[in-house]
């Protein structure tokens, strides 16, 4: 099986590529990434297990010709590449559109001309927008940020593939936890960094906003598991926890006793974004909360260098 991973050098991609490289049925992995976040950790740290299978192409989603060439003989595509900023993805709407919407459309066009048999797209739980109760896959999307709008429009293009190619759209929760290629803008990761090194966390809004999350190990296991699980293509939520921002702080306070926090704009009451776990999918893909959230955080802090 030959696989192409867009965004393969990113936060999720680095861990996914490392996992895929160890699977015997995987013969080749093409990492297709423009390194827009200057994060080179996929390429460092000694040889990965299965490293001889991995090839890197520095390319971008809008390179129509480059995509067609990269997809030659590929069987499976993981489409992780995206422009992502948190919090407050409310500026420069065109750039989100350019990458997440039109870039995805461009990839879909190239896939249509290829031998690809399975397409896996990491969309976002953000497509549901503000929620008053946990959204399941039948809840009409109502995205409120440029990022989430562009991810939903990307879904529409990906879904065109479904009649011909096995197509999976995963609406992923906010990802947290240690990856070799870190993102410290995602809320839990940023809190862990600030708690450990600064002993003071900055919080947007009141902190009471609920968010749905998934650990990096879980999402990586789930995405790799799609290659083997007896699953039909479709649109699925991929989340394992829904907690408030202040819950994260409370847990961190148990681990970092002298921790303080600052509410920098507590006049803003953010909406909840709650997404219902799809227990069937989580079971099929063997993802579950194997330890408590506090243990997750403890494990994360243990990976920090001091």
């Amino acid at each position: 099986m030959k696989i192409l991973v867009t965004g393969g050098a990113g936060y999720i991609g680095t861990e996914l590529v490392s996992r895929l490289a160890q699977m015997p049925e995987v013969k080749k992995i093409v990492v297709y990434d423009n390194l827009s976040r200057p994060n080179y950790n996929l390429f460092l740290g000694g040889k990965l297990a299965g490293h001889e299978k991995i090839k890197f192409i520095k390319g971008e989603l809008l390179d129509s010709r480059g995509l067609r060439l990269a997809l030659k003989d590929i069987d499976v595509v993981y489409h992780l590449a995206a422009r992502v900023t948190t919090p407050l993805a409310h500026t420069d709407g065109h750039l989100y559109e350019q990458i997440n919407h039109w870039g995805t459309a461009e990839l879909v066009y190239a896939v249509e001309e290829s031998t690809v048999k399975r397409f896996i797209y990491t969309s976002s739980a953000g497509v549901y927008g503000a929620t008053t109760e946990p959204a399941d896959e039948n809840t009409p999307p109502n995205p409120t940020t440029f990022y989430a709008v562009s991810k939903l429009r990307g879904e529409d293009h990906v879904r065109r593939l479904a009649p011909r190619i096995e197509t999976f759209i995963f609406r992923c929760g906010n990802v947290y936890g240690y990856s070799r290629s870190m993102r410290f803008d995602a809320v839990i990761n940023r809190f862990a960094f600030e708690a450990n090194f600064l002993k003071r966390i900055t919080i947007h809004g009141t902190g009471s906003q609920l968010r749905s999350f998934i650990h990096i190990d879980s999402i990586t296991r789930a995405l790799a598991g799609v290659l083997q699980a007896p699953l039909n293509g479709g649109t699925y939520n991929l989340v394992t926890r829904t907690i408030s921002v202040m819950d994260v702080v409370d847990e961190l306070k148990q681990l970092v006793p002298d921790l303080e926090f600052i509410l920098i704009n507590q006049h803003m009451r953010f909406s909840h974004l709650m997404v219902k776990s799809n227990e069937f999918i989580n079971k099929q893909l063997n993802i579950h909360n194997s330890c408590s959230f506090r243990e997750d955080l403890q494990n994360f802090l243990s990976r920090l260098s001091f």
Partner: protein, 236 residues
């Protein structure tokens, strides 16, 4: 019907038989024919007529890369329904080379250039391969189209054949009704003229049909009908 004949309903409007005869004449001369279509609801009349005459005639769909997913799905559906020989025509210039000085895609600052790279330039290359371009423009769609003739020269010695030129919106509607032709799925959501998504606008009740495309700009044509045509003075 005054002026009605086998070829023209009135002195200009071509009948299906007239279109068929003209196509057979072209083919008898050994000319290579193709058509192009945007696969909007009103475009389906010509496609349906052609499918009754000769389904092997290539139907070029100019896939700019900016279409609504619904349009692409509708294209596939109609292709199968009518048994068409549809060809996906894509731009030569990769998308990442279609950005302006600010790094934004061209439709944000220079839609003419965007249309040129994604529509006119690819179609220009197609014209070199054929002798007759069967084109579904109608005179009642714009002033530019009203000035056209049923047969008109195009670059590289190609003939533009405009069989629908003097069909009216009512005739199109009647034909669609008679043959129960499908409707583009976005029409029921309020879209009346559907092209590339960035330059297509769903009409508000107080807007004119022309404002459905390139809203806010003086631009009314993409270039296919202004650049890929050899203009002559119109015969009275």
């Amino acid at each position: 019907m005054p002026g009605a004949s086998k070829v023209f309903l009135f002195w200009r409007q071509m009948t299906v038989e007239g279109i068929r005869d003209q196509i057979y004449q072209y083919q008898a001369k050994g000319l290579r024919l193709f058509t192009s279509s945007s696969f909007q609801s009103h475009s389906l009349v010509l496609l349906h007529i052609l499918s009754r005459i000769d389904r092997t005639i290539p139907v070029y769909f100019i896939n700019t890369g900016y279409h609504f997913p619904e349009t692409l799905q509708f294209r596939d559906y109609v292709t199968e329904l009518f048994g068409l020989n549809t060809v996906d025509l894509k731009p030569e210039v990769p998308r990442f080379m279609q950005r302006d000085a600010s790094g934004n895609l061209l439709f944000t600052s220079d839609p003419d250039h965007c249309c040129y790279l994604n529509k006119t330039q690819p179609m220009d290359a197609v014209l070199r391969e054929y002798d007759v371009w069967i084109n579904g423009v109608r005179a009642d769609q714009s002033a530019v189209r009203a000035a056209m003739k049923t047969e008109q020269p195009a670059p590289y010695g190609t003939i533009r054949f405009h069989p629908m030129l003097d069909w009216t919106a009512k005739m199109i509607w009647q034909y669609r009704k008679e043959y129960n032709l499908p409707t583009h799925p976005l029409e029921e959501k309020g879209y009346v003229s559907i092209g590339c998504e960035p330059c297509t606008r769903r009409l508000d009740p107080d807007m004119q049909e022309r404002e459905a495309r390139w809203y806010g700009l003086k631009k009314v044509e993409c270039g296919l009908h202004t650049e890929l045509i050899v203009n002559e003075s119109k015969t009275p």
